[in-house]
């Protein structure tokens, strides 16, 4: 129950700070703390992994787990991106990210579905060409610790996708009748290497492909849907004897500029669950800068 109070307290506090600051300088909305963070390149999301989690941040989620038929009200996901280093002529970007992902089932960290992971990453994005259709490379190197078993892990990922301004191609806005965007998508192809940093922890490598679709069913920013399908083919390391497959979808409804309600469905073998199958429905309060 106490985890219900944390986001509500934050919601009230941040709103009060924002309102007070704006009230102090009504002519300048940019004077509030949250806009200052945004203007200085500090962003808060659920994750910065190029997945649907990057779109919204959930501080807290109520989780219905269909795999174990259990309910958990103890989930926290937060990622903070610090100002990026920009090599604008090369269209190359680097930025550090610190993330905390926690899911303690039934107040028990030792439960097999529980995790409590903190990670530090260096991420990069490179737009290879400046033409109207171009490949992009997205990479990251991370070190993370799961406090469930206190075993540090490394992670290296590189993905390529495509961007175009031609309607219908990846990255472009597909516009509806009222000229508002209703659809945008990206296909990704890449390689992932999960690295055990202590003796006895297995390495595992995957080739992966991913389809990310973002849609605005009502042509408004306030309600947004995301669908994602990820397929991983194990190419080395620990033998899971199965390829990993994840289907997920999410709906976000904005409460105000910074807060939203998120309903999210996930089914498949997720890296955060050590590629064990999980099947969950999550209702969350999101916070985004």
């Amino acid at each position: 129950m106490k985890y219900l109070l944390i986001p509500l307290f934050l919601l009230l506090t941040v709103d009060c700070i924002a309102q007070k600051t704006v009230a102090d300088s009504p002519e300048n909305n940019n004077n509030n703390i949250l806009n200052w963070m945004s203007d200085n390149g500090i962003e808060i999301r659920r994750a910065f992994d190029g997945t649907k989690k990057e779109g919204k941040s959930a501080l807290f989620q109520y989780v219905k787990d269909f795999t174990t038929d259990s309910n958990s009200t103890n989930t926290l996901d937060i990622a903070v991106k610090v100002k990026e280093k920009e090599f604008e002529k090369l269209r190359l970007y680097f930025y550090p990210v610190v993330e905390w992902h926690r899911n303690i089932v039934n107040e028990d960290l030792q439960n097999e579905d529980s995790y409590n992971k903190i990670s530090a990453s260096l991420k990069s994005e490179w737009a290879i060409l400046s033409s109207i259709f171009t490949p992009l490379l997205v990479g990251s190197a991370s070190i993370k610790n799961d406090f469930k078993d206190d075993e540090p892990e490394g992670e290296f990922k590189i993905e390529t996708t495509f961007f175009s301004i031609i309607e219908g191609l990846p990255g472009s806005n597909t516009n509806g009748r009222n000229n508002n965007t209703i659809l945008k998508y990206y296909p990704y192809f890449g390689y992932e290497h999960y690295l055990g940093l202590v003796e006895g922890i297995d390495n595992i490598e995957f080739l992966k492909s991913r389809l990310y679709v973002e849609f605005y069913p009502f042509g408004t920013d306030a309600i947004r849907g995301i669908f994602e399908y990820t397929k991983r083919w194990e190419t080395g390391g620990k033998n899971l004897n199965t390829d990993s497959e994840v289907i997920s979808g999410a709906f976000n409804a904005d409460l105000n500029k910074f807060f939203s309600i998120t309903l999210e469905y996930e089914n498949g073998e997720l890296p955060v669950n050590d590629f064990e199958n999980s099947h969950t429905l999550k209702l969350g309060l999101g916070f985004k800068i």
């Binding site: 949250l34 203007d39 100002k83 400046s130 301004i165 516009n175 000229n179 508002n180 042509g219």
Partner: protein, 87 residues
């Protein structure tokens, strides 16, 4: 050279929204423009090329300059005008 018209034309070209449907009060990251992270990289590149074309000592345009919260079409126009007029 009409900077306002040219910048709106660039934003239209990059977003797929017709010029007549773009207002100076539209925010880059919101409807109908909905520039995402990758879109902002390319918008910055297009604006950089425009500024380079019209200045002697090529002023740059960074993605971080147009990624600020609530950054509007009018802010982009002011930014580009300032860069061209400064040079």
């Amino acid at each position: 050279m009409n900077i306002t018209k040219d910048v709106i034309s660039i934003i239209s070209n990059q977003s797929g929204v017709k010029v007549e449907n773009i207002s100076s009060s539209h925010e880059l990251k919101k409807q109908p423009l909905t520039f995402d992270n990758f879109g902002l990289i390319y918008l910055a590149a297009a604006l950089r090329a425009y500024v380079k074309q019209h200045t002697q000592n090529a002023k740059t345009v960074k993605k971080s300059e147009i990624s600020k919260s609530e950054f509007k079409v009018s802010d982009v126009i002011e930014l580009i005008k300032a860069k061209i007029e400064e040079s």
